[in-house]
Symmetry: C2
């Protein structure tokens, strides 16, 4: 396992961690100030300042993108909404490519309408079928431009509204179904990212008794991203009360050891949704804490 204690060269900042800090250009400047080498931006943040401006900022600061957030949200109640989702996912692939992201992260979607508070169907098996069809269609396009797709299994508490793929096992079953031969995304020597893989976020999967085995099953090619934060023992909100690494109960170094034993050698990306705490703090304090915890608690 890599030694993170001496520096933060393998730290990436998911820019949702700094939702309280203003626009993406401000966030990128703050990351650069702290010597951070990689980020993973969200589409709405990119759109707010423009894709070209984002590309320019990323290049000026020599930043890598450990991922791009996010595609997905495939299920819809009718053909038109599913078609619109596919079109939007093509645009997301293109943006990820413009930014040279390591992968496009897919939050696959749940029951249509549930995110707005009123599910239009309870058919989760049907939603899962639509998700698989949506990934298949997006994969075809993503493969043509060389952008790996990373299915992110979300915690089961988001099964209704955000993602109906809720375990690493299920995500890998979908990978096996759609890309049984683990096709190479790029065909570049030394870069064996698969065209379709997974994003492992400790917040979503830490509880799973099959986690170690499924990480091994994923293997190097399909482990496209590794996200960290922490599960607070007293979690007050289902979405926006994630903890800073070290403040909760997740054995993050143990999970990182499993991921690295399987061959993952990429960034450790900090993604903290926390309107209750971290989004209220100054960007410099958040980043300094991320760096310190990256060295001691990841």
């Amino acid at each position: 396992m890599r030694d993170f204690s001496a520096d933060h060269r393998w730290l990436s900042i998911n820019t949702a961690t700094l939702r309280g800090a203003g626009r993406l250009d401000t966030i990128i400047e703050a990351c650069a100030r702290h010597g951070i080498r990689a980020i993973s931006p969200w589409r709405d943040q990119v759109q707010a300042i423009g894709l070209e401006r984002t590309v320019e900022l990323v290049r000026r600061h020599g930043l890598a993108l450990s991922g791009y957030c996010r595609g997905g949200m495939f299920p819809g109640v009718d053909a038109a909404s599913r078609r619109a989702a596919l079109d939007d996912n093509r645009r997301a692939v293109d943006e990820a490519k413009s930014l040279d992201a390591a992968c496009l992260v897919l939050v696959v979607g749940g029951l249509p309408g549930a995110l707005a508070g009123a599910a239009l169907t309870k058919d989760i098996a049907g939603a899962r079928e639509q998700v698989q069809e949506g990934i298949a269609a997006t994969l075809e396009y993503a493969r043509s431009v060389g952008m790996p797709l990373a299915i992110e299994p979300l915690h089961p508490m988001y099964a209704a509204d955000r993602a109906c793929i809720n375990t690493l096992e299920h995500a890998l079953d979908v990978c096996d179904a759609l890309d049984p031969l683990r096709s190479d995304a790029l065909g570049v020597e030394g870069d064996d990212r698969a065209a379709l893989g997974v994003a492992v976020d400790v917040y979503h999967v830490w509880w799973d008794p099959k986690l170690e085995a499924q990480i091994a099953r994923a293997g190097r090619g399909r482990l496209l991203a590794f996200h960290v934060c922490d599960w607070l023992a007293k979690t007050r909100d289902l979405l926006e009360d994630r903890g800073m690494m070290g403040d909760g109960v997740i054995e993050i170094p143990k999970i990182r050891a499993w991921v690295e034993a399987a061959g993952f050698a990429g960034y450790s990306e900090v993604e903290i949704f926390s309107s209750l705490d971290w989004w209220k703090r100054p960007a410099d304090e958040v980043l300094a804490t991320c760096i310190e915890r990256h060295r001691t608690a990841v």
Copy 2:
């Protein structure tokens, strides 16, 4: 599948559903008033009015107990606390026996200290070992008095503080490990409850893509209890915002069909933790709604 539309003979009320309605004697009188044939009381509610008084009330109203809540909470930071948990579980078995409950429900516990908001360890694998040891010891005693133990897998969002068994698959793995021959709890003709089985609560397991297969795996002998409520698309609290059947996204009839296809023929037990809504309403309104939804949405 049994037809529930004409009456509510298979409805049981978990008395936590009426936490806002006062003491257990008041709750039992309300259930009797509504022609309810079965309840599942909580230990703290029983203790508040006394075990003997509870036994007397249950007999007077001819109530069955679809379960008794709850044993478990096995992990501890030292031998003394684990020993105390085992002693407490023996007492819970005895109380369940006095009340002639169908089973003692086990909420197995999570990381010691987490329920109080400060986990004393992050070792979830260790907690799971302690849980298995605790169930093994309790099973030996429960078998000697003929009280089936029902492991209740809890939703993964409770893995830290309430139960580190979070899928039906994991619960059944523990059953296989501790009671590989599916021993009969009672040896009574026509009653094939296993000594160790599971309580399937739709709230905890609805999201699981392996649910149907695992219910079939459990089979008639190990399906000791079936709990219903609903998952609200906009869930506002991790513990106390469960929905009334029909108000959320769970396909309850589909899951009941799976359970009954596996041979389960017991009560459908309504368990709703809802300080945000149902606990604020009068007992008669809650029970009338439970009865109506039992007939139309379960």
